[in-house]
């Protein structure tokens, strides 16, 4: 199945986030690679996803899971070669699956040749490629992002006897985007991959590109200028490719990253995600509806990206202190689970492995306005290992079978890049693709079905949203509309059965057709529409006037 | 001549005997009726007494203030009194029935009228009784209200209310009994009207000052009290 040629393919996409290292090992060295990933493309095609987002796979000392890059134009030797990558890319495209890769613009590894040169002396031609200063007192208003490990945004370089700026780890010096050569070079890097056929970039840490004194050094206008330039060049030479912004900001602060449709195509809706978890725990839709009410309109060509979990901690930066305390107390009672103002757990453990809640959250993910991203392993309900430092607990090997090493690799268990999850509940003998593919009631089967329903219509990806506000606060209900297709979504956020009356008078005369079973429900009249819902149940209804 | 006298005498004796023979069975029936009537009346009395005891009739009578009257008049309790009264009425009824059997014409009519009168008598007694109860209750209510509202001369009010109600009840009773209906009605009208008129005059002219003070107390109370005192709230 070839790729569809739609310029707005990203609006209908279902994205699968995966790190090549974690997926499948083809050469027995205990580390996943591109060949292995390619071998598993059939599985992904069956799942129904239409785009893969790859975590950084460039050469790197791996002190920040690959986000510290030491060569932008190659593939880390553990994962294969450029040739392997090209082959994988082609296979993906043959199956109609697009590929999104990471592009870390803001900083490089301190092992990158550019930095080595830059620090070697104050007169080096690449000196100004990074941000240097004699003192560490500039840009005082900028916050520290990795609070658990870093004490300052400046680090002392003993070689060139001055400080260099780093918003993240101290081994990730920031590039200086005020320097035209830097901007030129980074475009060349992107071009390299675009010409190979890569469909999109997730640009990491974009708010921090440019620094200015007297500001918090985030979201500055100069940063937007840089980004708009990149976009312009992209549209010129490679139409149909996409830029996805990673900017953990409030929706109002995120809005500028869409520009007038001339900057990013997509951005993550960070603040929504913790509120979905909060809403389910509180059994109250208020946190969810409020953040969406505050979400500004975006240009028609742009799209939000929604997700439940990712490779990082479940970030609680974009919530109030009271909300954060509540989330900590209810979702991360064990303090080990907390990291950097977030919770480092996978989806299934966060939801107590409650199948109903997992389905409900995925249902909301698939029906709220935006492009959904599935984190690898969540489709089978994988667990986590919080004892593997930093955020590695949610980056364990994919569990393919109950056999040796969970089918991930034929190497000895000690050689694996990380140990497999093997507790009785989430371990690979219990939770794996092989068994779930054989069982009709498995989570994997359910995910395939709901993805299929989602893909059967463009309403979810491209339609408008209007919230209904039933008086019962435990029910989250909204109507999606595109052209003359209308879908009603009703979610019961509580753990107990509910009766809800919806005011559907606007849709009077429509018959409701439940989308997964295709059964007919009563027609809408002037009276309030009564629905009874089981715990954590949700409905998707077509509204059909026949 | 002797024979004429003897035959007349024997004729008279014969008629007397005949009359006697005619009368005697009736007399016997009458005596039987009276005895049976006594027994029945007694049974009714006992039954009624038990029923009245059950519904605590005495208590009711006490509330009506009737008990006090009875004890003053050295009469037995209300229950007892009523039971005995019913006994006598019942027995009297049977006696009269017996007498009617005797066949003395004029008497029968009177007896019939008596029996027609009886229900009305009962109703009148009934009205009287509950009237007394109401008079007692309302007059006391008026008394208490007057005392608590600091109205002057509450006892007068008490008496007035009681009198009016009793007079009213009496006039109904008399009307029910059919005794001097019109007279009673007119009398009641006159008394009641006179009372009202008198009060009006008293208030209007003679009790002018009293009325003034009374009204002042009622309506000008607020201003005065705010100046001179604080009203305590009991709760």
């Amino acid at each position: 199945m070839p790729l569809n040629r739609d310029v707005f393919w990203y609006k209908d996409a279902i994205i699968y986030q995966v790190h090549v290292r974690t997926f499948h090992d083809s050469n027995g060295d205990g580390i996943g690679d591109f060949q292995g990933l390619e071998e598993k493309l059939d599985y992904l095609q069956e799942l129904g996803i239409s785009a893969i987002w790859l975590m950084p796979f460039f050469p790197s000392p791996l002190r920040d899971d690959g986000y510290d890059i030491s060569d932008y134009n190659a593939v880390h030797s553990s994962y294969g070669t450029l040739k392997d990558f090209r082959k994988f890319l082609q296979s993906a495209h043959d199956r109609g699956i697009r590929v999104i890769i990471e592009m870390v613009l803001n900083h490089t590894s301190d092992q990158h040749p550019w930095f080595r040169e830059s620090r070697s002396s104050q007169n080096n031609p690449r000196r100004d490629w990074y941000v240097w200063n004699d003192t560490n007192t500039r840009y005082k208003e900028a916050r520290i992002i990795f609070l658990d490990t870093e004490k300052s945004n400046w680090a002392w370089d003993p070689i060139s006897k001055s400080y260099y700026w780093h918003r993240f780890f101290s081994h990730q010096p920031d590039l200086n985007y005020d320097h035209p050569a830097v901007r030129e070079q980074m475009w060349k890097v992107m071009e390299f991959w675009l010409e190979m056929g890569v469909d999109a970039f997730r640009l990491d840490a974009v708010p921090y590109l440019v620094e200015r004194e007297g500001t918090n050094c985030e979201n500055l206008p100069e940063t937007h200028t840089v980004l708009k330039e990149l976009r312009r060049k992209l549209d010129e030479k490679f139409p149909g490719r996409m830029l996805l912004a990673e900017a953990n900001q409030w929706p109002a602060d995120l809005r500028p990253y869409f520009g007038d449709g001339d900057e990013f195509h997509m951005a993550f809706h960070f603040p929504l995600m913790p509120r979905m978890f909060m809403g389910v725990k509180l059994e109250d839709r208020k946190p969810i509806t409020e953040i969406l009410q505050q979400t500004p309109e975006i240009p028609p060509t742009c799209q939000w990206s929604l997700f439940l979990r990712n490779h990082d901690e479940l970030t609680l930066e974009m919530v109030t202190d009271m909300e954060r305390d509540y989330m900590y107390d209810t979702y991360a009672g064990n303090k080990t689970m907390r990291l950097n103002l977030g919770i480092r757990r996978r989806l299934a453990p966060l939801l107590d492995n409650d199948r109903r809640r997992i389905e409900l959250m995925n249902g909301m993910l698939m029906s709220l306005p935006g492009t959904p991203i599935i984190y690898y392993g969540d489709e089978i309900g994988m667990g986590d290992n919080i004892n593997l430092g930093d955020r590695n607990g949610v980056r364990t090997p994919m569990q393919w079978s109950g056999g040796r090493n969970g089918g991930f690799s034929i190497a000895d268990a000690e050689r694996l890049y990380a140990p497999l999850i093997d507790d009785p509940v989430y371990g690979y003998p219990a939770v794996n693709v092989l068994r779930q593919a054989e069982t009709e009631h498995s989570l994997l089967y359910w995910m395939r079905r709901i993805i299929a329903v989602r893909r059967s219509t463009a309403v979810f990806g491209r339609g408008s949203i209007e919230f209904l506000y039933p008086a019962s606060h435990r029910i989250l209900a909204y109507v999606r509309q595109l052209g003359n297709e209308t879908v009603l979504v009703v979610n019961n956020l509580s753990s107990t059965a509910q009766a809800v009356e919806l005011d559907l008078r606007r849709y009077k005369g429509n018959i409701l057709i439940e989308m997964s079973g295709k059964n007919i429900f009563p027609r809408v009249s002037d009276l309030p529409y009564l629905l009874t819902m089981g715990p954590y149940q949700f409905y998707w209804f077509w509204l059909r006037r026949i | 001549m002797r024979e004429m006298i003897i035959s007349e005498l024997s004729q008279a004796l014969y008629e007397l005997a005949r009359g006697f023979a005619h009368f005697l069975p009736r007399l016997i029936v009458m005596l039987i009726l009276i005895s049976v009537g006594w027994v029945i009346a007694y049974v009714v009395k006992v039954a009624l007494r038990s029923v009245l005891r059950l519904i605590k009739f005495d208590k009711l009578a006490e509330k009506a203030g009737a008990s006090q009257l009875l004890t003053k008049a050295a009469l037995p309790s209300a229950t007892e009194l009523l039971s005995r009264f019913v006994f006598w009425v019942a027995w009297l009824g049977f006696i009269l029935l017996g007498v009617s059997v005797l066949g003395i014409l004029g008497l029968q009519e009177q007896i019939a009228r008596f029996f027609l009168f009886l229900p009305r008598l009962f109703v009148a007694i009934f009205i009287m009784f509950f009237g007394m109860l109401a008079a007692s209750f309302f007059s006391r209510a008026a008394l208490l209200a007057a005392v608590n509202a600091n109205v002057p001369s509450p006892r007068v009010l008490n008496l007035a209310v009681r009198s009016i109600i009793i007079i009213f009840v009496l006039s109904i009773v008399f009307e029910e009994l059919g005794l001097a209906q019109h007279t009673m009605l007119i009398a009641f009208g006159i008394v009641f009207g006179a009372l009202m008129l008198g009060l009006a005059i008293a208030f209007g002219i003679g009790g002018r000052n009293l009325a003034q003070r009374f009204l002042e107390k009622r309506f000008v109370r607020e201003k005065k009290e705010e100046e001179n005192e604080d009203e305590l709230s009991p709760l």
Partner: protein, 439 residues
């Protein structure tokens, strides 16, 4: 708007005994369905309280957000036919996503719903509505607030609720700091009598604001008090007595200053009916309970010690004396049926005394009250008349109390009240004796 549908009280009692008792309107029931299960329920009976209700509901809302931010809460307004927009003021304080108030930092939705239970106020029906809602919503901790507190301070709600919600008490009655001469009916009659008879030292047994557990609320709701006519006025006192009777855990919580919105306060006779009338009528059924109690226990009390406010207050003592004397004179026929000859003789003697010598001693007052209690129980005259007849005597007692404590310190006043209470306790056997006689 549907008309209220009243159902009959069911003879059969099941666990959820409200299914048959549907005196709640359809509309209210629908609103309750939408609210769902709650942890905390705040009941607010109102009738034309637009002047004070605004600040009260604001205080309630801020207390909930401050002290119970994670709990599911609801405000239930039982309105008795207000015409000044009171219900709208109450429902306006709800927090939800339909009318987002960005100034508030609230984790959850807060429902504030209102129902009109009648066209004229009836505290019995209002309480029943609130208790019904509490049972249907399975509220763990509830509180009834008064719509007339002109000076409600923050934390009143929390003070009444915390002992129930956190410390597992079943009933929390308030204590106030008030003027020594306010609430004399409570300090001179209700408090000592409840204390002596039921053995519990509840300062404010008759109160319009109190906290209670869902357990106690359901139990009271299930009792058939609603149909005996007296259920309306004084139901709050019945609630307290039910808690005592049922052996529930009771405590007191100091709230603050008590102030009525109108300084004139309640009329005496209706007040007597609500308090004394209710108490007397409860004594009959509760005889097995209070006849076996001796002495009294103190209750756990949180908050500051209750202190009296000493402010100069001008009392019309002449009027009190007058009403007492008039009462003794005019109600002679009534008192003869109620009081014992010796008590009546003493009172008559007292009424002839000069003002300076006038003294309604504690002992005499206790005897008076107890004899009234016995007379009420036997219905020597209509019971309501018995209550009314107490009024002039009470005024006499007020006169003595006011005179005695004219220059007293706060502690002295407390000691005097304590002395009166002990007198009530001491003479309890006398009550038992005359209760049983003349049967």
């Amino acid at each position: 708007m549907t008309r209220p549908q009243k159902g009959r009280v069911a003879a059969r009692r099941t666990g959820m005994n409200l299914a048959e008792d549907s005196f709640l309107t359809d509309d209210f029931l629908r609103q309750l369905i939408n609210v769902g299960e709650v942890d905390i329920l705040v009941g607010l009976p109102t009738h034309n309280n637009a002047k004070t209700i605004g600040s009260i509901v604001q205080a309630i809302q801020s207390d909930i957000l401050r002290f119970f931010p994670r709990e599911r809460a609801v405000i239930i307004n039982a309105d008795g036919g207000s015409r000044d927009g009171t219900p709208e003021l109450v429902t306006g304080v709800s927090i939800d996503d339909i009318r987002p108030a960005s100034s508030l930092n609230a984790l959850r939705t807060l429902h504030s719903i209102s129902t009109r239970y009648a066209t004229s106020p009836d505290s019995g029906v209002a309480l029943r509505t609130i208790l019904s809602a509490a049972e249907l919503l399975r509220a763990k901790a509830c509180v009834v607030m008064s719509a007339e507190s002109a000076n409600i301070e923050s934390e009143w709600l929390a003070k009444l609720l915390r002992p129930v919600y956190r410390d597992d008490f079943d009933l929390v009655t308030p204590t106030y700091r008030r003027h020594e001469f306010e609430g004399l009916l409570i300090t001179n009659l209700v408090y000592p009598m409840v204390r002596a008879l039921y053995g519990v030292r509840i300062r404010e047994a008759y109160t319009s604001e109190f906290g209670f557990s869902g357990r106690l609320g359901s139990q009271f709701l299930g009792q058939n008090v609603w149909n005996d006519g007296a259920g309306g006025a004084g139901v709050e006192l019945r609630f307290t007595l039910a808690a005592i009777r049922g052996g529930y855990r009771i405590c007191q919580s100091f709230l603050g200053d008590k102030d009525h919105i109108e300084r004139r306060g309640a009329e005496l006779v209706p007040a007597l009916r609500q308090t004394v009338g209710t108490l007397f009528s409860a004594l009959e059924a509760d005889f097995p309970v209070w006849s076996n109690v001796a002495g009294s226990q103190t209750l756990p009390t949180t908050g500051a010690e209750r202190k009296v406010l000493l402010a100069p207050m001008r009392v019309n003592r002449k009027r009190l004396r007058e009403m007492f004397t008039t009462g003794i004179a005019e109600l002679d026929s009534v008192f003869q049926l109620i009081l014992s000859p010796s008590t009546l003789a003493e009172l008559q003697g007292m009424s002839r005394l000069e003002d300076q010598e006038f003294h309604y001693s504690a002992e005499l007052w206790v005897k008076t009250v107890y004899e009234f209690t016995a007379a009420y129980q036997k219905s020597v005259i209509s019971r309501d008349h018995v209550i009314q007849a107490l009024a002039p005597l009470f005024r006499g007692r007020v006169l003595t109390f006011v005179t005695e404590n004219r220059d007293a310190s706060a502690d002295d006043v407390e000691n005097n009240i304590e002395g009166l209470c002990l007198e009530f306790e001491r003479l309890k056997p006398y009550l038992l004796q005359i209760w049983k006689s003349r049967e």
